[in-house]
């Protein structure tokens, strides 16, 4: 039930009351209206993590690459140490 899916904000419908701030979010081609009250920092083009109709977080795109950078460095290190035959 705690499943949350990342999607890209493509449109924002602001409301005078932040509790009703909504946006249209694209999930790989499927677009849904999502409540953005809890992510005031979400702007068009950013990726938000959506759970039961609410964005609960804005994805940190730099941090999202961290594990791949780590594995890349690991690979380079191995090469240096001669663990991978060239």
């Amino acid at each position: 039930m705690c499943l949350a899916v990342p999607g890209r904000v493509v449109e924002i419908m602001d409301d005078s009351d932040i509790a009703f701030r909504r946006g249209r979010v694209d999930f790989g081609g499927i677009r849904k209206e999502i409540n953005l009250a809890y992510t005031p920092e979400a702007t068009i083009g950013k990726y938000v993590l959506v759970h039961v109709g609410f964005a609960i977080s804005v994805i940190d795109e730099d941090e999202a690459k961290r594990v791949f950078k780590y594995l890349e460095e690991l690979g380079a290190l191995k090469e240096e140490l001669g663990e991978i035959p060239q």
Binding site: M1, C2, P6, A19, A37, G53, I59, R66, V67, L71
Partner: protein, 377 residues
């Protein structure tokens, strides 16, 4: 999909698994809290990538599984009232109550509807002013901001024909209950990423300290889980017990402050019954103050019939990580997703359902993954 499919890359998964194999020197038991993580582990066969020394046990983080049976009975009783449109997330419908599930009630004519969001239930209430719309507000901290907002908007828009049957539970008190039990086998935790996205992870520092247990906030994709296991096992091997965050792309230490503020405005912390675990102090939410008028528990009097649990279901032991689903005599024989004896066989986050759907009926052999071009050790 971006930020999803790249975390399912097999080569990267093998690389992370290799790191775990290199790190481990002794047996360790690690619990993943969240049922969503359990499903990824079983569906992707992650256990088969890990050294035999690592045992993963599946935690109580399935809200459907821990919702008490008397509340399911109550939901069925409310749903059967002719004036009621009963709304729920789909998972709850087939969970067996004492004699009926919500699905049975629907088959008998009750107006039970599956909704995607609690705001959809609120919308239904607005468009059906002559009916009573009741939403089954089940969930962990992840779902609390949504349910809090539905109650808040109902109050703001003065929607009188809307209410919530609240069964909200909290992760940290359940972890403490598990850790303080004499039968506890857990040495490290993968904390539930999305729960921490909302609440942050400050609450876990005293738990890690008191029980000397590593806690790693972990995401839900295969690479997240393997990295979470690597971080947990590294701590165990190095005799550390810290709170670390694997799921940095979505989770900050302080969590989501606007969501926490709304939760605190609408809900208060109460003791809660957990199906299979019993009562845990200060482990759930109920509506507070001016929002209590939206409490379906107050709006509809309780049925007098006492709840009856299946005697054959060992879900309590499963939820504490003491037994694995395939060790239950009823598993896949008397208890199947079509005819479940207990909630973990129903829910898309239940450990029994995961084992059933992905064919895990016995312990598998573990083989160290080989990387292309890497000589095996």
């Amino acid at each position: 999909m971006k930020f999803l499919s790249e975390y399912r890359d097999q080569k990267a998964a093998d690389q992370l698994a290799q790191q775990i194999w290199k790190k481990v020197t002794r047996p360790w038991t690690v619990m993943e809290i969240c049922g969503g993580q359990t499903h990824t582990i079983v569906k992707c066969g992650l256990e088969d990538l890990l050294p035999r020394d690592i045992t993963l046990v599946h935690g109580p983080g399935c809200p459907v599984c821990v919702t008490p049976i008397d509340l399911i009975d109550k939901a069925v009783a409310i749903a059967r009232r002719p004036e009621v449109i009963f709304c729920s997330f789909g998972d709850m419908l087939r969970v067996p109550g004492s004699s009926k599930s919500l699905f049975d009630a629907k088959a008998e004519g009750a107006d039970v509807r599956i909704v995607y969001s609690p705001l959809d239930a609120l919308k239904l209430a607005k468009s059906n002013p002559d009916r009573q719309v009741v939403f089954f507000a089940v969930g962990f901290e992840t779902t609390a901001p949504a349910n809090a907002m539905a109650a808040w908007q109902a109050d703001h828009d003065q929607v009188e024909n809307f209410s919530q049957l609240v069964s909200h539970v909290l992760v940290p008190p359940a972890m403490e209950a598990l850790l303080s039990s004499e039968s506890c086998v857990v040495q490290g935790f993968l904390a539930a990423g999305h729960v921490c996205t909302v609440m942050g992870y400050e609450e876990y520092f005293p738990i890690a300290e008191r029980y000397r247990v590593p806690i790693v906030v972990t995401g839900f994709e295969p690479l997240d889980i393997l990295e979470g296991i690597f971080m947990t096992v590294s701590q165990l091997e190095e005799c550390r017990h810290e709170v670390e965050n694997q799921y940095v792309r979505a989770t900050r230490r302080e969590g989501n402050r606007p969501a926490q503020e709304r939760i605190t405005e609408v809900f208060e912390v109460v003791n809660r019954q957990w199906r299979g675990l019993g009562e845990i102090p200060a482990s759930g939410f109920q509506l507070r103050g001016r929002f209590q008028k939206y409490d379906a528990n107050r709006r509809y009097p309780s049925s007098a019939e006492p709840a009856r649990e299946s005697l054959e279901c060992i879900s309590g032991l499963i939820l504490q990580g003491i037994k694995k689903p395939h060790e239950c005599p009823a598993f896949a024989v008397k208890c199947t997703p079509e005819n479940p004896l207990g909630a973990p066989m129903v829910s898309s986050e239940g450990a029994c359902a995961a084992y059933y759907h992905y064919g895990r009926r016995q312990s598998h052999d573990r083989i160290q993954p080989e990387l292309s071009g890497t000589p095996s050790r």
